[in-house]
Amino acid sequence: MHYVYKDDTHTSLLLEGDDALSFNASMVHFSKKIEIKKCTIVDFDVFGMYCLGGLHIHDCIIRCEVSWQSGGHNHEPIVIENCVFEKFVDFEDCTFDSRVILRNVHFKGGTNLFGNQSTPVVVIFAVPPLLDNVSGDINLDTFRVNMK
């Protein structure tokens, strides 16, 4: 299924059991909780997406590259568990205002979640994140590469 959001939404969202999920919500500010579970995600356009009401992704395989830049701003926790990101996940300049929990997550293509230190796009965690059984390279520095 292909979901496209262009305006801010104020209702909670549950996407479940889709084996070819395409989710486009670039620059959308979700005020309610988003939950995605038991899905295979083939397109995840979340550039600049805010999850004010929190986000829960679990039991999913994300086959595409993910660019979640300059987003976050969660007032509720963001929980990602039992997920495999097959390609690179870009968190540049994200700000997480509440808890982030990653549990049983494999970043096969790596991520810059904890990279880009001392750059203008380092991820801000207002609350120290909790990670359990997280694998893959999560310290990638991408900012300098991009700027060259």
């Binding site: 262009k6 801010d8 104020h10 670039s26 620059m27 500010h29 005020s31 550039f47 600049g48 805010y50 660019s67 830049q69 300059s70 987003g71 701003h73 007032h75 300049d93 700000t95 205002d97 509440s98 808890r99 929990i101 990653l102 549990r103 049983n104 904890f114 230190q117 001392s118 750059t119 203008p120 796009v121 380092v122 991820v123 801000i124 965690f125 207002a126 609350v127 120290p128 994140p129 909790l130 990670l131 359990d132 059984n133 997280v134 694998s135 999560i138 310290n139 991009n146 700027m147």
Partner: protein, 739 residues
């Protein structure tokens, strides 16, 4: 802010001046010669904070006698006075709880009922927001807590260090909870969780929710498995240094997780690991709760510290000379990762009714005949002691080092009006609600025809011995009353502690402080107003007026004025109604229309909405925190700016959030845009819209489309890198920075 510093300096100067003329040996017995119980110095024309403020101003050698400065000093002193009143109330309630415990009979002498603990725990929680003296007194003298703590310590033999005195533990808890002043001290980042529980005892603070502390086998791929900072020593102690039971955590670059505090930890691990769990005999429940509150508060302080460090590292030029930490970035948390593993959950309330309807236990049988006279006597002692502990920094000592009589009278006039009236009210409540039962229970004890004196009043002439039938009827009535929640007997605690939750959200909103997130209260307030406009609850043209109000429609200043007015007029009923209105009018964070009627609707002798402690402390904090004015004016400025830059109503939320993301207090330094923002005189909306307009121009000319990154635009002579997305021809800015 400068004004606050100014009046504080003036008070300090006056205080130091007095200390210079007082021989130290005379400073202690300040009240020795004064018998206040019968003192009568005639009516006062001004409340004490006004007369003392005038004295401070008059004694200022530098002059500065402006009306505004006088008002500012008065406000500061009034905040102190609220602390004074609150301190008396908490201690008096604590004392009363002890009296009621002593009045219990039979088996109850050896056990604490749930209702006893609830009453007691509320008091302890209230005192946590008071001062260290009041908290220590309340925490350590609470009879139920004391009894359970004693039992627990006898059993808890696994503590490798040994017990810590209650006073020391209480002080540590208080300091952790009130850590705001230390939030900017980076060193506190390394001192986390020391002192209470974690440094010496694995279970204290976790109560019945004690997690199993799991330790990885040495050869696991242990970069994924971690333990809480501060527990290593404990674990080493417990394992006796056995390398198979304990292995040190590898030095890592980031801080992946913990097993503690996560649901179903067994699910996480494919390995069977040895686990330590603490004994089932847990400490008093309030210990867990109170430590949880203290830790949560300390975590917030550490978060602020982390943010201040972040700023330091992003701007080496701004770093203080003492910033020699070996941290490379706060997200790394250095070689000793900090873990927050226990976030107390807010109390669960199944229905709104639970917020308001508190089952008042049957206390009638616990009152001894001299209960109220003891309460009055104790009030006299507490109110005297509290002058020094709460107001000792005021310039109210005479040349012999004693508090001047006139100030004692002025100070006590208002507190007497509040507390003596309150005790009288309690006594009337007792007479009204317990007299019939009192007849039955006490006549046998004191005999027929004896008058029983309670406080200063004859409440039971005791002329009639009831017949058996009447006794049965009364017992039925008693059972019926108890099934409905017991006799409605009022206690000091019910005015100073219980039902804290409804008002907490109001107070937090009032002060707009301690919110999660990096945005400042101003930015949060602006965002919440944006949401109201977006949802149609607020008209765009009414934004300015709404911004001047607190989140629930109140102005904190108005509540301050009302509190002050009622106290000045010795109006107990007024102050109780105001407390009820604030607490009872807020349900789930939303103001119920007509707060007073909402509270009164609950019927009869309703105390659930009254919480004088919260009222006093919230106004005190409001006065002392210079935040609210910034919130209100900042919000107004935000909306003025939104109008100025023609931000359409439907776009306000996005622009507000976006401006906060780029120029908010938590990210401005990171984005290196401080100088750029200054070119807009701090107008973040203007700066955001200018950058977005530049992006729009590029989109209109076809130079950017879709997601754009690393695009440099020049605005007001500054080259800024912008990112965003062009959607349906509209350029939306996601971020901006100067590399």
């Amino acid at each position: 802010m400068r004004n606050s510093v100014s009046w504080l300096q003036k008070i300090l100067t006056s205080f130091l001046t007095l200390l210079l003329v007082i021989p130290p040996i005379q400073a202690e017995p300040l009240f020795g010669s004064l018998d206040l119980a019968g003192a009568n110095f005639g009516p006062l024309t001004h409340p004490v904070w006004e007369t003392v403020a005038q004295k401070i101003l008059d004694s200022d050698p530098l002059g500065g006698k402006s009306e505004s400065e006088l008002k500012e000093i008065q406000r500061g002193l009034f905040a102190d006075y609220l602390s004074y009143l609150n301190s008396i109330g908490i201690e008096l309630a604590s004392y009363e709880a002890t009296l009621l415990r002593e009045g219990e009979e039979g088996e109850r002498d050896r056990s604490c009922l749930d209702s006893d603990e609830v009453r007691e725990n509320d008091l302890i929680k209230s005192s946590l927001k008071s001062d260290v003296h009041t908290f220590t007194q309340t925490y350590c003298s609470a009879p139920c807590r004391k009894m359970k703590a004693t039992g627990f310590q006898l059993i808890a033999t696994y503590d490798p260090v040994g017990s810590v005195s209650c006073e020391k533990q209480a002080r540590q808890i208080f300091e952790d909870f009130n850590c705001e002043g230390k939030a900017n001290d980076p060193s506190s980042l390394y001192n986390s969780f020391e002192g209470i529980g974690n440094g010496r005892n694995l279970s204290i603070g976790l109560g019945n929710n004690v997690p199993k502390l799991r330790i990885p086998y040495p050869k696991l791929p242990s970069s994924q498995h971690f333990i809480e900072l501060g527990l290593e020593d404990n674990l080493q102690n417990l394992s006796g240094g056995d390398p198979f039971l304990f292995s040190s955590q590898p030095n890592i670059n980031y801080q992946p997780g913990t097993f503690v505090g996560i649901d179903n930890p067994e699910k996480i691990l494919p390995y069977q690991v040895p686990a330590y769990s603490v004994p089932e005999n847990s400490p008093p429940a309030i210990d867990a709760e109170i430590l949880g509150l203290a830790r949560a508060k300390k975590t917030q302080c550490q978060k602020k510290t982390s943010q201040s460090l972040y700023t330091t590292f992003q701007n080496p030029a701004d770093a203080s000379p003492n910033s020699t930490s070996n941290l490379s970035h706060p997200n790394n948390f250095g070689p000793n990762p900090l873990w927050t593993t226990y976030d107390p959950e807010p109390a669960n309330h199944s229905t709104d009714e639970d917020y308001f309807i508190t089952k008042i236990p049957d206390l009638c049988g616990n009152y001894k005949p001299d209960h109220f006279s003891k309460l009055r006597s104790k009030y006299m002692v507490i109110s005297h002691d509290a002058i020094l502990s709460q107001l000792g920094h005021w310039p109210i000592l005479d040349e012999e080092g004693k508090v001047e009589d006139k100030y004692i009278v002025e100070i006590k006039q208002i507190s007497d009006a509040l507390f003596i009236k309150l005790i009288e009210r309690l006594e009337n409540s007792y007479i009204q609600n317990c007299s019939s039962r009192f007849d039955l229970d006490k006549i046998a004890m004191f005999g027929e025809g004896h008058a029983v004196i309670t406080g200063a009043k004859v409440v039971n002439p005791g002329k009639e011995v009831p017949s058996d039938k009447k006794v049965d009827e009364e017992k039925e009535k008693k059972d019926d009353d108890q099934s409905k929640g017991g006799y409605q007997v009022e206690t000091v605690a019910q005015y100073f502690s219980h039902s804290a939750e409804p008002i907490e959200s109001f107070v937090d909103g009032l002060l707009t402080a301690d919110r999660l997130g990096s945005a400042s209260p101003v930015e949060h307030r602006a965002s919440s107003l944006a949401a109201e406009v977006r949802d149609g609850r607020l008209k765009y043209e009414d934004i300015g007026a709404a911004a001047k109000n607190g989140p629930y429609g109140y102005r904190a200043e108005d509540i301050e004025k009302m509190t002050r007015g009622y106290l000045e007029q010795n109006d107990l009923a007024g102050i109780l109604n105001l407390a009820a209105e604030i607490a009872g009018g807020v349900s789930g964070g939303v103001l119920v229309n007509g707060g007073v009627s909402a509270a009164r609707r609950l019927g009869g002798v309703d105390l659930s909405g009254v919480n004088l402690s919260r009222l006093f402390l919230s106004i005190r904090d409001f006065i002392r925190k210079p935040l609210l004015e910034g919130v209100e004016t900042g919000a107004v400025n935000f909306w003025d700016s939104a109008k100025k830059w023609n931000v359409p109503a439907k776009d306000i939320s996005r622009v507000s959030n976006g401006a906060n993301h780029i120029f908010g207090s938590g990210s401005l330094a990171k984005h290196n845009l401080k100088g750029f923002l200054e070119k807009f005189a701090g107008d973040s909306v203007g700066a955001f819209k200018s950058l977005e307009s530049a992006a729009q121009a590029l989109a209109d000319s076809g130079k950017i489309q879709g997601v754009f990154k690393e695009v440099v635009v020049t605005v007001k002579g500054v080259d800024v890198t912008i990112r965003g997305n062009v959607i349906d021809g509209i350029a939306k800015l996601s971020t901006a920075f100067i590399p």
